[in-house]
């Protein structure tokens, strides 16, 4: 199973969206922009707006956040980081 498939399998709920929006609001500085594939470029306000709308890019931002948290919880991230000097 590829990561793309597992990303597609994540079901997004309002609670998840709320958590991600709160983190973006608190931790992403206003001069930082995200370039995400063919979805284009966006600042923190635009990221939050996409998540609120629940459009494709908004869902993508939430899904990759959940994937990251899953990698942290499973130990995959920690093992990978520990493998490099």
């Amino acid at each position: 199973m590829t990561e793309k498939t597992s990303s597609k399998e994540i079901k997004i709920n309002e609670e998840m969206k709320g958590v991600v929006m709160a983190r973006i609001d608190a931790q992403v500085p206003s001069n930082l922009k995200l370039a995400i594939g063919g979805y284009g470029v966006m600042n923190k306000e635009e990221m939050i707006e996409h998540i609120k709308k629940g459009d494709e890019v908004g869902n993508q931002i939430v899904k990759r956040h959940i994937l990251f948290l899953k990698s942290l919880a499973s130990g995959e991230f920690t093992r990978a980081i520990a493998s490099v000097e």
């Binding site: 370039a35 979805y39 990759r64 490099v84």
Partner: protein, 214 residues
Amino acid sequence: MRKGVILTLPCYDIVTEYLSAFSQKIKIESEKKGVFLKLLNKEKANKREFEKVINKLDCKLIVFNGHGSDDSIKGDKGEVLVKLGKNDFILKNRLVYARSCEAAYLLGRASVKNSNGCFIGYDLPFEFYFNSEWAANPIKDNFARPFLESSNLVPISLIKGNSSLESHERARKQMLKNIKKILRSKTQEAFFIAESLWNNYLGQVILGNQKAIL
């Protein structure tokens, strides 16, 4: 097939401007190693020119910068350069690195079927953060650097003569090192930068011949 590199450098929006700016290091490495390099700059990164150059120069390594989808890689102003089922045969038996979103997922897999070639690319959307204050001078942007310099290691390592697997692993290892460094910095945005690098780390895949060399 000759030992040489074709490098596409579309440059028509902020994403392609950053990819092009950071690709200068690929150019420098080719010159240093005396490896033939053909640049397809800006509007030259179109389908007609690309196919002409491939047929005429027959270079083994193709490095794509630009937008993409799971079945295509794009060039100048989003013009499709390679499309699954149309002209993907052009990639057969070559070494390909596509810094294009998701192109590995269908196009990459198809291109290495019944082929001795290798495709290194992304199953997920390739992403990076950048500082809007440096948008006019991308190369000085320290937010974009860990994303684009680590991914640069795929073609740079291939040009140095390393195998496709080694080149793929070097780039991924550098992504992990960058994540570690960023998390240690404990800056406000560190978690988000790390999350995006992790996305690229997970998304980068090697398909086909893992022993392929330039």
